[in-house]
Amino acid sequence: MTKRHVFLIALLAALALAGCHKADGEKPADAAAETAQEQAGQTEDGLLRLAVNADIVTMDVHKTTNDYIVPMNVFDTLFSIKKKGDGSTEIVNRLAETYEISEDGLTYHFTLRDGVVFSDGTPLTAQDVKFTFERMLTLPDSAQTDYAIAIDGAQELLDQKADSLRGITVEDDRNFTITLAEPFAGFIASLATPPTSIFSEKLVTDAGDAFGVEPEKTIGTGPYIIREWVRGSRLVFEYNPKYWGDEPSVKRVEVVVMEPQVMSMAFQKGDLDVLDCFLLDAAIVNSTYKTDTYKDRLVSTERLGLNFLMLNEKIEPLNNVQVRKAIQQAIDREAILKSIYDGDGKLEDGIFPTGCLGYSSNNQGWLPYNPAAAKKLLADAGFADGFDLELCLDSTATDSVKNTIQVIAQNLNDVGIRASIRSLDHASYLDLRNSGDMTAYWALWLLDFNDPDNIIYTFFGSRDNTKVRSNNYADDAVIERVAEAKTIVDETKRFKEYEALEKKIVEEDAAIVPMFSLKHLYVIGDRVKHFTPHWAGWNDVYFEDTVL
């Protein structure tokens, strides 16, 4: 009786408000949403419905290092990376039709694909490429300077000592040359990542502040046009009829922002076409989706990245290599992988994850779980009674990471290290890590482009890098070698050097505790015939690779 009452009252209130609502005229945003829904209803074919757990901040990739869903689908890069049947990756030409590298590995000559236009009809020219890289370096709030810094003259432009980027020479509308300051073997691969998406000089200049904020002013050459962006709520993409490539099967994409537990409900009711299991607990995925009903609809890909525990060598007693080695052996990585991640991954003993170029099986299989040995190492190092250790946790981390940290703390306590967990909100966490004072933390690095440099340089490439990653790795000679490795032109020699560096940093110096690489699981709905995850297992996907 009471419940019915409550419901009635709710209904009455709702109706009353509905009346008011209609009377004072529709709000434009609502009207747009409703017509969008109608359209969606009519063009049922070609509609792909996805969910993400956090909205993007900007559509301008020069101002973000996180939000790649718009650049990946609305813009284009010179190259792209595709995953082959055997799991290895290859670089495919996109906007660049051909390219040549000089023998010294310094000069790259490119020819652009003919007839590429932006979605409003503006033709793509070589000058746009130059403009894009110059913008990366000159925009006051650019977050992507790293992708242009290898180019000759980039540092001068960044320091405002030059007016243009001398390393890029435009020959004609389709031909241009890029000269690097030093050889960089990963350069072509870096041109396949979303941050190096090519913008139009004319369109970006015309749009001014609206670029990256207003959908109609954010125009690229990619397969899709961004139609609508309601902050904190949803993104709508539509096929770009002027796209130079093949017409994709997906014509319209609606991306909704949702809490993870809500996504699962929406998927089961058929309101989502793809469910990203990354944010769900493995146990839920196991009990709900690894079942007879869904097991044929599971898509799995390797996340090309390493999960590891970072140890700060600046903080006592982590400055003692014996202590770090003890920690390495004290953690039951296999149990964590098996229980918390339901075995969907692979133990890693190195810094380069499986699938990463430069991965070496020589550096695998040396790290056992051996709490007894860990205790002995601790005792030998003079810490028989243990010590206090603070594990830092980002409060926005996934539940799986939070659980992992708690297990690690328990593992460490079992060998006598009094580990405590310090949870910090995202911004405070980053601030502490960047300051170089974070004691130990759970780190994940997903490859931006498939080159060993991408991961090892990030963490051990310079004094500054070791500081902002709070590892404060002590061996300057090794740091120098890491920085130099990227300039080795001979590939075999280069990978040999990376193998040696990996052994030195992870096995001999125990700078990190390598944990595992994980699989990225998706469940796809009945309407999706073929779903292709990102080659490196990122959360964002290229819509055009999906077939309905």
């Binding site: 146990a283 229980s339 409060s395 328990q410 949870s423 910090l424 405070s428």
Partner: protein, 286 residues
């Protein structure tokens, strides 16, 4: 003489509680919960942080009354220990905020003028910032812990009490019996303690019992956002928040702590209401 009268009031109150069904039942439940959580180790042989990765997410049974959680810890044990923290969060910041709010509210109403202005503007400032946001900023500054949750709750709760107490005090001061006692020569402090405060009590108790659920729920909301009590420490709000993912597949994980929150909140609610009925000055004088 005065002490005598006080004891009588206490006894009267106790006897009245015994006669009021709602007060008796809810009071007993509160007592039971306090005992259960205080003597938690007597009721369970598990450790609240003891992990058992091989037996994670077990359904109720097999020696686990409410099953095990995502790290194989006994949910029943964690509820007992979580209740300790949640009771602390229910009572401590609420009581401190009520005391602070009452004191400031009475001050504002008695002194008026600049004191009143400053106190009430301070209260306005606190009440103008949505409590959740303010609590977040405090927690970000101090880091998530029991102490920071308590501090942030005091900060967001005192203003409301101060404002209500002030307005009721003003009303009371105008009322006939206070005017009568003032004209009979009673001093300010005397009037405050013997005439205004007792008459404020029902209001304060209603606000206090209102704020108990509010405190528990604020803590759970903060835990939902991941910034309240931090593991390995456990609170009911944290347990509910952390198990929301499992709500439909493993409902016991979220329902058990949520149920406990409900029982605590409802008990305090009904107890507070009953107490208000008993303390009602209109009835007592009648």
């Amino acid at each position: 003489m005065k002490a005598e009268r006080k004891r009588n009031t206490g006894q009267e109150l106790f006897r009245a509680c015994l006669h009021n069904k709602a007060a008796l039942i809810s009071g007993l439940i509160i007592l039971l919960i306090i005992l259960l959580s205080t003597f938690a180790p007597l009721f369970t042989h598990y450790d609240e942080t003891g992990q058992d990765l091989m037996n994670r997410l077990m359904p109720p049974g097999n020696g686990h009354l409410f099953g095990t959680d995502e790290l194989g810890r006994d949910v029943f044990t964690r509820i007992l220990y979580g209740t300790r923290v949640s009771l602390l969060i229910a009572l401590l910041p609420t009581a401190l905020a009520a005391a602070l709010g009452t004191a400031l509210g009475i001050c504002a109403a008695s002194f008026r003028g600049a004191t009143d202005f400053i106190i009430m503007r301070l209260a306005d400032i606190m009440l103008s910032i949505p409590g959740m946001l303010f609590a977040m900023v405090v927690l970000y500054t101090l880091g998530g812990s029991l102490a920071s949750v308590v501090i942030s709750l005091i900060l967001i709760e005192w203003g409301e009490t101060a404002r209500v107490v002030r307005s009721v005090t003003l009303k009371l001061r105008e009322s006939e019996f206070v005017e009568a006692s003032v004209s009979a020569g009673a001093g300010g402090l005397h009037v405050m303690i013997w005439h205004i405060l007792p008459n404020l009590l029902p209001t304060i108790i209603v606000l206090f019992t209102l704020n108990i659920p509010a405190s528990i729920l604020s803590e759970s909301a903060l835990s939902f956002l991941g910034i309240g009590i931090q593991p390995p420490q456990v609170s009911l709000g944290l347990m509910t928040g952390a198990s929301r993912q499992y709500l439909f597949q493993m409902p016991w994980l979220a329902l058990a702590p949520a149920g406990m929150i409900m029982v605590i909140v409802l008990s305090f609610h009904f107890f507070g209401d009953a107490l208000r009925d008993i303390l009602d000055p209109g009835r007592r004088t009648a």
